[in-house]
Symmetry: C2
Subunit: 237 residues, 2 copies
Amino acid sequence: MDKTICTCDLCKNKLCARTVSIFSSLDADQLSEVINLIVHRQYKKGELLLLEEEAVNGLVIINEGQVKAFRTSPEGREQILHIFSEGDFFGERNLLREQNSPYSVEALEETHVCLIDKRDFQVMVRESPDIALKIMEALCEKLDRLENTVETMGARTVDARVSAVLLEFANKYGKPHSKGIMIELPLNREGIANYIGLTRETVSRKMSHLQEDGILEMVGNKKVLLLDRPALEKAAE
Amino acid sequence: MDKTICTCDLCKNKLCARTVSIFSSLDADQLSEVINLIVHRQYKKGELLLLEEEAVNGLVIINEGQVKAFRTSPEGREQILHIFSEGDFFGERNLLREQNSPYSVEALEETHVCLIDKRDFQVMVRESPDIALKIMEALCEKLDRLENTVETMGARTVDARVSAVLLEFANKYGKPHSKGIMIELPLNREGIANYIGLTRETVSRKMSHLQEDGILEMVGNKKVLLLDRPALEKAAE
DNA sequence: CGGGCACTTGATAGTAATCAAGTCCGGTGG
DNA sequence: CCACCGGACTTGATTACTATCAAGTGCCCG
């Protein structure tokens, strides 16, 4: 795990803390206090930010890039639990209790993070109780998403699962495009498979099928152009 | 939804609020104040406490009995997300935000609950911030459990899933027994299937297989005697 | 431009869902 | 307390689907 000083624009300008909703209730003084406590790090694609069962020593805020949080089963199958992007954070569950990390976290691309030490954060929460509310909000959002995931994985067909994950990516990463919505995929085929409990071959086949049906168009391996969103929504049901 | 006055011993003696960890930080005065705000209800097996997409008007604490929280997919498949028993509560996510229920809740047996109105609860949280911490704890526990569920459903074999759910029940409902651990199952075969995304027939077959292997013994339809816990743990990996 | 890795596509096998009886449990009423 | 009835459970046969194994193609990065 290579630790380097963060050089991204946001951090150089000391604005990183301002972009994160968790600190939105702080005034300028409090904010500059926070900024002084923040340690910056950056990770290359494939580097680990955290290892399952390891002690968590603070809150990690993604400032640039994205990461996957995953577990590996005894047989070696990887299950991705969360994908965190700019503005997301993790480690909040371990700020108030002594417990090791429930997952490993790996950079999916060049990723810059802001790190706040556990003790510093505990002080901050005590001084600004609104932060606790923001954390609760974040916990609720994660719960909502995981409940959706459980329903999708337990009660939906495989076709619906693939459609659902593409819709999720369209909502999160989609950019308007003349023919529809251009989606920059955060995961390769194997990653998508590990996110919804399938194999890469099955994901590949189902995506090809969606292309045949004219619902989407694959643009290289890393992008998808969603042509018919309503049809994809119907397929995800 | 039949609403009746609660007649269970705990409530008659006004002790119900005391048994719930969420109020453990309150002193006697605060507690009696809480007790005056509590409304009691009881539900028969099969009755709905809450319907998906319905407004949630307060916190529901299970005082006696148990319930399942579930969603029904468009094709009619039911996915159970949580099982709540004595001391558990739900609805906490809707206390701080306006959002409808993410699931339906149905009584699995005669169930007595304590209900605290949303507004009353918001006042309580403001007066006793420790309650917010308790809620955060509960949210974290639910997150932990759902992450386990996602991993189990996505990355484990079907045999491992059945073993895992039986272990979960053993931990939660198991009572020591001369030959092992006696488990009173909260769900019938179909319910177990809907909890781990399988069909009742498959669950039935896998449980028969575990019995053939001498790992457990079925005692009627509603109980299981776990004979070899280490073997079940190994099978759940 | 070239090589390696990710992706696609095909063939096969394994496993759970489905369809279909038949059995047993458990609650009810005599 | 026992007999009976209905629903839950088990077990079997078949089908459908995805994982696996395998080969070939094409994308992407250096």
